[in-house]
Every structure is written in structure tokens, then in C-alpha cells.
């Protein structure tokens, strides 16, 4: 059986066409079936599962899957952190061609020639390991990399100095209000394979059709890390990130929390243009004076608030807890429970597992001789905290970025997962064995000292949210 990992998301449609043309049609794939277990190719000896694109390289590297298709940038990022040669880039499929750029706001001067006037450089990216490699190769004396789930282009200049972003070309980078500093990688969707599978297993049923000579891309892996032109000089001291003391900064979420947040803002009487049920721009305008707003991913907010980049943010309690479990002393706390967007964070196992509770599941796994319990989760720190408090002897938390339903039972024993109605779980033959906590949309606040003027604004905005949340219950 050849195990093939395919990406969810935008690649579904063009890749579905490409697979069909190559004689490897996959039922329901291009249509974006709710179920992440694609059927229809089992008779060819090919088992297919759909993952978030970012999670595919690790699945291939671990040997859970023999072959996969994903953007080369995710593979290169993994290889920077774990420089093994477990993943082989086999062929450029020519879909979603783009480049990974290091971009700034144009104030960097020629950063690649001389960074010596820079103190602490902040780099934001969905590709944190490539960002680290960039900083190391440039021999930056002092830098911090902020891994984010998305919206990296919105961070400079206030909340980061540089961002690593995927864009079609330099013009596309400029259209996002940034200046390209360095092109790290030309990338597109690639066929990748596990090295050992490649050496020992007959993968020709997949490789044959996909390697056939037709109009696919012909790129080569081309990571281009900069070389240092200056070195051996201590930084001139930490750069202070100048923030106006009289301006309050609020971060709002995109994605599925947006509709709850829009409702909560309306209820609180905060009028904002460029952020409603239909539209999202990265810097919406508030009617209230001295209130500055930026839209970023809810997952990234606790750290951004802890850093003092934002005073307030609207996010889920799940992401706040995940952050607090990792950094117990972090200066960020829940200020108001907005009491919308309610869902459970739960331990989820296969429907067929004869266990009604986590304790039963654990003793069952022990009886079956499973030495390692694999927990796949977007909430790495919650999962880790949970596993520690249950005294699991040997466990692995597999960090994923979504589409977790496909992991159990083959690639994980358990998920730590947010579930609203349970419909997705049922469709994927999964069940809840324990509810860890209830998450709702919350207003979170920075706890460090701030100026009196900003404190007054902060108290005012928190009060508006509190009154509306109280009125709703």
C-alpha cells in the first residue's frame, strides 16, 4: 500500500485536475469533502489522506506517508530545523508558483551589506526556521523570530522589522506595502517522498504518472541564504520600539472568530470601518480617537499582547491558555469573557476505541502494548500540559496546523481538538472522551505598566466590552 498525503486548501482544485489528467483521480478531493479521508484509490493500492499543507513534510519525514504534495517552502522550513535528509524533493509540479521573500518597510538601508546599526531585529514569519537560518547566515548579532500562523505581512513596521512572506513576485510584495530585501526561495507545489520509501518501496503507481514528461514545472530546489558581509561586532544595544504613549492598540481576529467579534464590537458600541461580516482589511479604522487597530490571527495574539505590541486583543480562551501553559509568567490575561463563539476543547479518539473516558483509553493503550501515545493537536502546549498532568509515560505531541481529523487512528492515538457541534468528528468516525475546558471569545489585555493616558483609554474600552457582555447574559 502506497500512502499519499495531499494538501487541503487552495491547491485542491488545480491539483485535483492535475491528478485526474495524470490518471490518478481522487474522488471528492477537488470538491473539498468534509471528510478528510479520501476514498476511491484504494483499489490501486494507494491510500490517500488530506492534511494542511504545512503538516505534510513532517508526515513524510516521519515515514507515516511515502509520498506527498505540498509547497516546497514548507519542506525547506522543516529541513532547516531538522537537517535530516528524510524528505526528498522529487519533482516540481508547477502549481502555485511563487517566491519566499524577506521583506521590510524600506527603512532597513542595505541590511544585507551592513546590519551593524541594527540592535535587536524582529522577524515575523509562518516559516520560523527559515527565518532563523536567514538571521544566522547573515550573522545578525541579536534577533528574535516570531512564528505566526498567518498575516505576517501586516506586522512591519510597528510589530516587526522584517517579514518572510510568499508572493508571486517583487511587485506583489510591494503591493502589500513592503519592500523586498532578499529572495530566499523560488517555490511551488512539489512532489516529495520519504527517502527510505523511495529506496525500498515500489512507489511507481504514484511516481510513474506524476513524473511523466508533460507540461509540469521544471524548478530545482534553490534555497538562497545570504552571506554575512560584516561580522564580529556586538550590537549597539536594543532598539527601542517607539510607540505613541497616547495610542491604544487593539488586535482583532480574522477567520471564523471574525463574525463573533464583529457582533461583540457592535454590542460594545465600538464603530470600526473595514472590519465587518463581509470585509477585512489589515488596518481597520476606529471611530474612537487614539484607538489603532490591526487584524492578525487569533493564535498569535497572546504573544503579541505579552510583548506589548498591542494593549488589547480579541481571541479565543483556547489560544490564551495555550500561551500561558507555555509561558506561565507571561504578562497577558483575560479581561472580559465576551461569551460568544463557544466550543469545547476535548480529547478525541477513534469512534471504534472501546473506551468511554480518557482513563479507560489510556489503560487500553497500555494493555495493547502501545509504548508511545501520539497526540496530534494545534494546541501543542495544552496537549503537552494535559499529557503531563495525566502522567502519560511516553508520549509525543505532533504539532499540526489543522485538518486534524485525518490523523486518528493511523497517525495518532488522540487529538486535542476544538469542537463546536461534533458534526465534523462524527463524519470522521471520531468521538470525545473528555472535555478539557470550554472556550469562548475573550478580550485579553497586557498586564505590564503603561502610561496613565493609555491606561485611561484601556479602562474605557474594557468597560465598553464588559457592559455589553454583561447586558447579553
Amino acid at each position: 500500500m502506497i500512502r499519499l498525503a495531499l494538501p487541503a486548501g487552495d491547491l485542491r482544485e488545480p491539483l485535483g485536475d492535475l491528478l485526474r489528467e495524470a490518471g490518478l483521480p481522487v474522488d471528492d478531493y477537488a470538491e473539498g469533502s468534509r471528510s478528510y479521508i479520501a476514498r476511491g484509490s484504494q483499489e490501486n493500492g494507494i491510500q490517500i489522506r488530506v492534511f494542511r499543507e504545512a503538516d505534510i513534510p513532517i508526515q513524510i519525514a516521519m515515514g507515516n506517508y511515502d509520498v506527498g504534495i505540498c509547497n516546497l517552502s514548507w519542506v525547506e522550513d522543516l529541513m532547516q530545523r531538522y537537517p535530516s535528509d528524510a524528505v526528498v524533493a522529487v519533482r516540481d509540479l508547477g502549481l502555485h508558483q511563487c517566491s519566499l521573500y524577506v521583506a521590510g518597510t524600506g527603512n532597513e538601508g542595505d541590511l544585507l551589506l551592513d546590519w551593524s546599526s541594527w540592535g535587536d531585529l524582529r522577524i515575523v514569519s509562518e516559516f520560523p526556521d527559515l527565518a532563523e537560518a536567514f538571521a544566522r547566515h547573515l550573522r545578525l548579532p541579536s534577533y528574535r523570530v516570531f512564528p505566526v500562523w498567518g498575516a505576517a505581512e501586516s506586522y512591519p513596521p510597528e510589530d516587526a522589522d522584517l517579514a518572510l512572506i510568499l508572493a508571486e513576485d517583487e511587485d506583489a510584495v510591494r503591493k502589500q506595502g513592503l519592500m523586498p530585501v532578499h529572495r530566499l526561495l523560488e517555490c511551488s507545489a512539489w512532489l516529495v517522498a520519504n527517502r527510505e520509501s523511495m529506496a525500498k518501496k515500489d512507489l511507481s503507481a504514484v511516481l510513474g504518472p506524476l513524473l511523466a514528461p508533460n507540461g509540469r514545472g521544471n524548478g530545482r530546489p534553490s534555497l538562497s541564504l545570504p552571506t554575512a558581509r560584516v561580522m564580529g561586532r556586538a550590537p549597539s544595544g536594543k532598539r527601542s520600539t517607539s510607540r505613541r504613549e497616547d495610542v491604544l492598540r487593539l488586535a482583532l481576529p480574522d477567520g471564523h472568530q471574525q463574525k463573533h467579534t464583529v457582533a461583540a464590537l457592535d454590542a460594545a458600541g465600538l464603530r470600526i470601518s473595514g472590519y465587518d461580516q463581509e470585509t477585512t482589511i489589515s488596518r481597520p479604522q476606529a471611530e474612537m480617537p487614539n484607538l489603532e487597530i490591526k487584524v492578525i490571527r487569533p493564535q498569535d495574539m497572546p504573544q503579541q499582547v505579552a510583548l506589548g505590541h498591542f494593549d488589547l486583543a480579541v481571541t479565543g480562551r483556547d489560544w490564551l491558555l495555550d500561551h500561558r501553559y507555555r509561558f506561565p509568567s507571561s504578562p497577558v490575561a483575560e479581561a472580559v469573557d465576551l461569551d460568544v463563539g463557544r466550543y469545547s476543547i476535548a480529547g478525541v479518539v477513534s469512534e471504534g476505541l472501546p473506551a468511554q473516558s480518557l482513563a479507560e483509553a489510556i489503560s487500553l493503550w497500555q494493555r495493547e502494548g502501545k509504548n508511545t501515545v501520539r497526540i496530534a493537536s494545534e494546541y501543542v502546549n495544552i496537549a503537552d500540559h494535559w499529557a503531563r498532568s495525566y502522567h502519560l509515560s511516553r508520549y509525543k505531541v505532533i504539532p499540526i496546523t489543522g485538518a486534524s481529523e485525518g490523523f486518528v487512528p493511523e497517525d495518532a492515538e488522540m487529538l486535542v481538538e476544538g469542537t463546536e457541534t461534533g458534526a465534523t468528528l462524527a463524519a470522521n468516525r471520531l468521538k470525545i472522551v473528555e472535555r478539557l475546558f470550554e472556550s469562548t471569545t475573550c478580550l485579553i489585555a497586557h498586564q505590564g505598566p503603561v502610561s496613565d493616558r493609555r491606561r485611561r483609554l484601556m479602562t474605557e474600552v474594557i468597560g465598553m466590552f464588559k457592559r455589553s457582555a454583561g447586558a447579553g447574559t
Binding site: 537560518a133 552571506t227 561580522m231 556586538a234 505579552a306 510583548l307 507555555r326 509561558f327 509504548n371
Partner: protein, 422 residues
């Protein structure tokens, strides 16, 4: 994947069993004693340091930095990474900057572990016996370090000792005179180390005033002070900047000659030549590299202090321990004792522990043995028993197989004292 017998020990991490540990202890003790004799004081730095200490120093290459164990601490929400120390010299420099007056002369030594990722089963934790000499010592400091390192190896009884000698400025001057920038210098030097000597032709093409072929410089080993004189004659007109490094090296070489310390000049001695600024050296024993070091005058400045000259070296404890001749096992001492209580009555146990304490007080090795019939080491076996309310002490001399019985501990000890030795 989830099942099967996975090892309990992390990959690349090693246990040191009693036999190996005895070797390590011998290395550490010998090293510490000789450093003490030379006026060095022991320091210990934390296992966890800020990553920026190492990136800012600019002395660890990107390849080295990507093999560090770096992570966010529990309070690392600001994104500042910490690292399991990948190198012991930079923390020692930080210790100097934070605790001593600028320019104050410091002689430090330490035995510390360093952590660097390596693939497969190769060790990811190594123990370094390191020495740092910080302050204005001129070339005498370099000679002192070479003689100190050599003294440690001699005292450990290692054979086939060799000292290699070079100067970081030689290679750097040639490459920079040829117009190579720092990155290109590193690449060119790596090619030389990988025996890709075609690069020499490329460099020669950029040095029109050069009178002698560069392989005289890069491809020769085993030279003495006279070799340095030859280099001077051959290269000074083409690469005038070599005068300083060659002068330094000739002084060190002449001093070593006069104190009868054998050495060999080899220009391509160190892998990371960016780290060093002056004379560099390495120690070999039985054909294997056991340590090395040199002068790094920029280091204190790079970790944030005022510029103070410094040099140092490190020996690999593992490499040294592996070359030691096995020493008798700690329990093998002829005069050591095993005291065996019979049963577990409080009187017998108290008498047994009293016997052990008495022997320890007189400086004799003694341990409590079980009756499970384990094989024991040492000459004397004392069985403590209680019959009809009275303690008895049976003494077995394993050298002569003679057994005697005594009513008091003193008697048994006297019997052992007066026993013949063959």
C-alpha cells in the same frame, strides 16, 4: 511507529559507567592539579545561556549555530532564545566581563560539558577541560598554555605527544591580500582544508607580487623555526602583512625550542580560523587530536566588554580518558575490607557499621557486603555474627585463606595488622 522497543536513553547521549568514570575522574583530577600548580583557579558557568551571547560573538559559524540546542525558556514569551552552552570559552568570557575589572589578569580553568547536535549515534554532549588566560600576557601567555597543556598530557602518561603550531593571521592575511571578503575567505579556507588545492591557483592569480607558490605555505607539515624563516623569505614581498604573524610565531617557536618542547608548524591547523587572532596550537597523542586552542584577542570585546587580550585551550576529557592505561578498579586495593553482617539484628548491624566507620577513620577502604555470595574485591573479609547474645568477628584473609575468630573488633584489626604479606 508507536509500538516496539524504543531505547530509553536519548540519541547521542552517553552513560558513563564506573570503569569509564574512573578514567574521567583521573583526567579531571590531574588537569585540576596541574592547573592549580600553574596558578589557575577553577570556575563553573551555567548550562543555559542566552543564544545572543553566541550569535553576537560572531565567532561561531552559522553551521555551528544551527547545531545548538536552543529553545524558549518558560518565561521566553518575548521570543528571546536560550541555549544549552555549545562552547565553554564564550561563557567564560561573559563571566570575566560581568565579574572582573577590565584588563584584570585572570587565569581560569574548568571541566564543563558542551552540547552540540550531531547526526546518528555520535556524541552530542562532550566534556571539555578548558583553560582561559585573560589579560595582557603577550606571547609568554601562549607559551605558558602550550607548556601547561603538555604537562597535563605527560602527567596522564599519554604517549606519542605532538604539539602543532600555527598562526591564524597567516591564512587570513594571504586571503585578504588576495581581495577575498570574509565570506569568500571562509569558503576558500574550507576548500584548502578539504584538500581542494586548485583554490591555491585561483588565489595566486590574485597576488601578482607573489614570488613563491602557495602550496609551500598550505601544504607543508612538520616545519620548525627554520621553516618559518623560509616562509618569511618566500612570501614577505608578495604578502607583506605576513610579517607580524610570522614574527609572533618565530618568537613562540624559539621559546619552545629553548625549553625543549617539541612542536611542528602546520599552517592549516584549525578549522574555524575566524575564531582566533594570533598563535594557535593543537595537542595530539598517539596520532589522535586531544585538544587545541590559541589566541582570541577580540573575544572579550565581542561579548560586550572592553577589549582585553585572551587566549586559551580545551582538552577533550573523553579522548584523554580513552587513552589512559586502565587503573586498578577502585575496590581492588589490596588492603580493602568487606564487612558482612549475618542476619539483620540491630546489634549485628550496629557492630558492622561501627567496624566500617572505624576502618574509614583509619583511612582504609571498607564496604558492607551482603550474604548473597557476590564476588568481592580486596584482601579482608570480616563476618559479624551474634551467637547466644555475644558478637563474634570472623576474619578471612583472602591472600592466605586463613580464617580466625575474634570476640572484639580490636582483636580482628590487630590480627590483620600483624598478618604476613605473602
Amino acid at each position: 511507529m508507536a509500538d516496539g522497543d524504543e531505547p530509553l536513553r536519548c540519541r547521542g547521549m552517553r552513560d558513563l559507567l564506573p570503569g569509564e568514570m574512573a578514567g574521567y575522574r583521573q583526567v579531571e583530577e590531574t588537569f585540576a592539579r596541574i592547573c592549580g600548580d600553574w596558578g589557575y583557579s577553577e570556575i563553573r558557568t551555567p548550562t543555559i545561556e542566552f543564544l545572543h551571547l553566541f550569535t553576537a560573538a560572531g565567532t561561531l559559524s552559522p553551521q555551528m549555530l544551527e547545531r545548538t540546542y536552543s529553545f524558549l525558556d518558560w518565561d521566553g514569551w518575548s521570543g528571546e532564545r536560550v541555549v544549552l552552552r555549545p562552547d565553554a570559552t564564550i561563557p567564560a568570557a561573559r563571566l570575566y566581563v560581568e565579574n572582573l575589572f577590565p584588563g584584570q589578569l585572570a587565569r581560569f580553568f574548568y571541566t564543563q560539558n558542551v552540547f552540540r547536535f550531531s547526526t546518528g549515534e555520535e556524541s552530542r554532549e562532550d566534556w571539555q577541560c578548558g583553560v582561559e588566560l585573560i589579560g595582557e600576557t603577550a606571547l609568554a601567555g601562549d607559551v605558558e598554555l602550550i607548556l601547561l597543556g603538555r604537562a597535563v598530557l605527560e602527567r596522564l602518561g599519554l604517549t606519542g605527544l605532538k604539539v602543532g603550531l600555527s598562526h591564524a593571521g597567516l591564512v587570513r592575511t594571504v586571503l585578504s591580500t588576495a581581495g577575498l571578503d570574509t565570506a569568500a575567505q571562509v569558503t576558500a579556507y574550507d576548500r584548502i582544508l578539504d584538500s581542494d588545492l586548485t583554490v591555491l591557483g585561483e588565489i595566486e592569480a590574485k597576488l601578482p607580487d607573489l614570488k613563491a607558490p602557495l602550496h609551500l605555505l598550505f601544504d607543508m607539515q612538520g616545519g620548525k623555526a627554520s621553516y618559518l624563516a623560509n616562509l618569511r623569505a618566500a612570501f614577505l614581498s608578495g604578502v607583506p602583512g605576513m610579517a607580524g604573524p610570522l614574527d609572533d610565531l618565530m618568537k613562540v617557536a624559539a621559546t619552545l625550542d629553548s625549553v625543549s618542547c617539541d612542536y611542528q608548524v602546520q599552517t592549516t591547523l584549525v578549522r574555524s580560523f575566524e575564531y582566533y587572532t594570533g598563535p594557535v596550537f593543537e595537542f595530539r597523542a598517539n596520532g589522535r587530536r586531544v585538544g587545541g586552542g590559541g589566541r582570541y584577542d577580540d573575544l572579550i570585546g565581542l561579548v560586550g566588554g572592553e577589549s582585553v587580550p585572551a587566549s586559551g585551550f580545551a582538552l577533550s576529557a573523553r579522548e584523554l580518558a580513552s587513552q589512559l592505561r586502565p587503573r586498578p578498579h577502585a575496590g581492588d586495593g589490596e588492603e580493602s575490607w568487606v564487612v558482612r553482617p549475618v542476619g539483620d539484628s540491630p546489634e549485628v548491624l550496629a557492630a558492622s557499621f561501627a567496624a566500617v566507620a572505624h576502618l574509614h577513620a583509619s583511612g582504609t577502604r571498607a564496604s558492607i557486603g551482603s550474604l548473597a555470595g557476590e564476588s568481592t574485591v580486596g584482601r579482608w573479609e570480616l563476618t559479624v555474627d551474634q551467637r547466644r547474645g555475644r558478637l563474634t568477628y570472623r576474619l578471612l584473609d583472602k591472600l592466605t585463606s586463613r580464617q580466625t575468630s575474634h570476640a572484639a573488633l580490636e582483636e580482628a584489626l590487630n590480627a590483620a595488622e600483624s598478618a604476613p604479606n605473602d
